[in-house]
Point group: C2
Chain length 348, copies 2
């Protein structure tokens, strides 16, 4: 049975190479003022012992942790997992690690997550706040001395720069599209209305309807298939029969599509459908579903770049809170017209 080996230390390397600790440190960190010959000996010792610098000790000495955090509602969500992928990639290019924490949109978990990141002395982090109006989070973020970037949802009070898609205009655009098709009675199925993104989209829908002099029909409590089906069934009855449906969220779009299909309601002949947020099979399904596409990759990339710009730029002490750059990036969405809105027949 092999003996339990402790991790070799810098001092052990030094002893083995017959040099001082300083020299080893210099070799490890690629600092000059060391003879090629000495260097070779040290490097050999490092190899032989399988030495890897102790990260904790370095950090303690004032090193950066070279670690960033990501705080999101869920990492299983394709939207956020794509962001995470991008972020992780860019972080790695910079030699940084990524710590992922999920909140399930709960304030308490969010607070814990941020505190944990602070405690671990991450050099910065990206957060998709559960709620923009969360005072506790805001004051917590004010005290944070490392760069923070808000992703997908801003933090009120511009306490951190944010990278957000233009949900309002995206929804407005989609609604316009339906109106342009001649539909008058256009309903909107929201999902969790307490979320910033959904609220913005709902506002966009309402604005577009109002601008066209049409009455907005907002169903705000749709989150599971059963209630979705029920709501749709109700919409399709009576004299105020809905002609088009705009769903504000991926899962609701899918539920609505499935419900319509099960009820044997033809799309778009009987009801048109547009969804917010694209998904894997939206274009494969029959009829293909028209959606508002979000620039997911770009969101992640921009957030990462913003974070690292602050990270690199601010070797000078970072100013916490208000004084931090209040950059607000708003990214454009695009409408992908497919068949479900009545735009054109399926290509077959």
């Amino acid at each position: 049975m092999t003996k339990q080996r402790k991790h070799p230390t810098l001092r052990e390397v030094a002893k083995r190479a017959g040099v001082g600790t300083t020299t080893v440190s210099r070799v490890v960190n690629g600092v000059e003022h060391v003879e090629p010959w000495t260097m070779a000996r040290v490097e050999r010792a490092i190899k032989e012992l399988g030495y890897l610098p102790n990260h904790a000790a370095r950090v303690l000495k004032g090193y950066k942790t070279r670690t960033i955090g990501l705080v999101v509602p869920s990492i299983a969500d394709p939207f956020f997992s794509s962001c995470a992928e991008v972020l992780q990639g860019i972080a790695r290019q910079h030699g940084f690690l990524l710590i992922v924490l999920t909140t399930h949109n709960e304030r308490e978990m969010e607070r814990d997550a941020v505190n944990t990141l602070i405690q671990h002395r991450v050099d910065g982090f990206v957060i998709a706040p559960a709620d923009a109006e969360n005072d506790e989070l805001r004051s917590l973020l004010m005290r944070v001395t490392v760069p923070v970037v808000a992703l997908d949802r801003p933090v009120a009070g511009a306490v951190a720069p944010s990278v957000v898609a233009d949900n309002f205009v995206g929804a407005e655009h989609a609604t316009h599209h339906l109106i342009a098709h001649g539909y008058k009675r256009i309903a909107c199925l929201t999902g969790e209305i307490e979320l910033y993104t959904i609220r913005e989209r709902a506002r966009g829908y309402q604005a577009a309807m109002a601008a066209a002099g049409l009455e907005a029909v907002l169903h705000t409590t749709i989150c599971d298939y059963a209630s979705c089906e029920k709501a749709i069934a109700k919409m399709l009855k009576g004299p105020d029969r809905v002609e088009a449906i705009f769903t504000l969220k991926n899962s609701v779009t899918v539920d609505a599509f499935e419900a319509l299909q099960r009820m044997g309601v033809r799309i778009p002949e009987k009801v048109a459908l547009i969804g917010y947020d694209d998904f894997q099979l939206a274009g494969t399904v029959r009829p293909a579903i028209t959606v508002v596409q979000q620039p997911i990759e770009e969101l992640g990339k921009t957030a990462a770049e913003l974070l690292f710009r602050h990270l690199k730029g601010s070797s000078a002490p970072v100013i916490p809170g208000e004084a931090r750059a209040k950059q607000q990036v708003l990214l454009k969405t695009s409408l992908i017209p497919r068949a479900s809105c009545g735009c054109r027949p399926d290509p077959s």
Copy 2:
């Protein structure tokens, strides 16, 4: 403009509370032998200064990092992001953080990832190795002194316990299912054949075909839509016209489905289709696609539990390499019969 604050230290808390550092440490760590009155004072000082223990210093003192790693090909992949979600959740319950690293199935990135984790002194990690036969990885893992669990793909030589779905039996089962429907000429579209999972599935398919005395038709290079469509078009021509297709991977299934649809080939009347791995709209699409479902959540959960069992159990020094428990967990897959295999008409 607010002054740049350093993080308050334990010593500062001690001074403020008028006690020794030891006492503060005891309060922070909830150790007994401290008067309620003293405790209150210390706690107040902690609150006032917003003190959070310095993680690096603790780790340096021999504390566990309470951090685990996850090394996967991609975090954007729904399969792995689901695993990550589960793992993160369980880790958090135990008070652990999760560091995510992606490899894109490249050996070099994989090695770097593992080294980085060692350097950061994670308490253990979960890895989905790019290649089971990677000697370098194996010897690297042999030297690791913390618990490691292989996920989705084993490491040859049982150098770490593994949690894997039974790809062979899953594919065999699906192939049997097609054979039971009376199809004779059943083709298989693989995806990246160099991956363990795909290879196992291909083997399962071949075994089932051989057992039935049928000739296996394996197409191994299908990874993008164009080549998929081309391959399928070819299969459907001539006297050896294929009657059923078995796709070994999510994206290939989708590509095949789309190709078939575009070509106007009716499923399952003209060609039946079964895919490996379930996906969001597999049951919504018409016809609904029969698939082999993997126990994704359970994979993640089992891996996490295994890891934490080792983590908790081994306050005694961990034995590296061979001597480590060679647990191999094989999880059952299940066939979800839907319409595309010809099982039954769409419910409408």
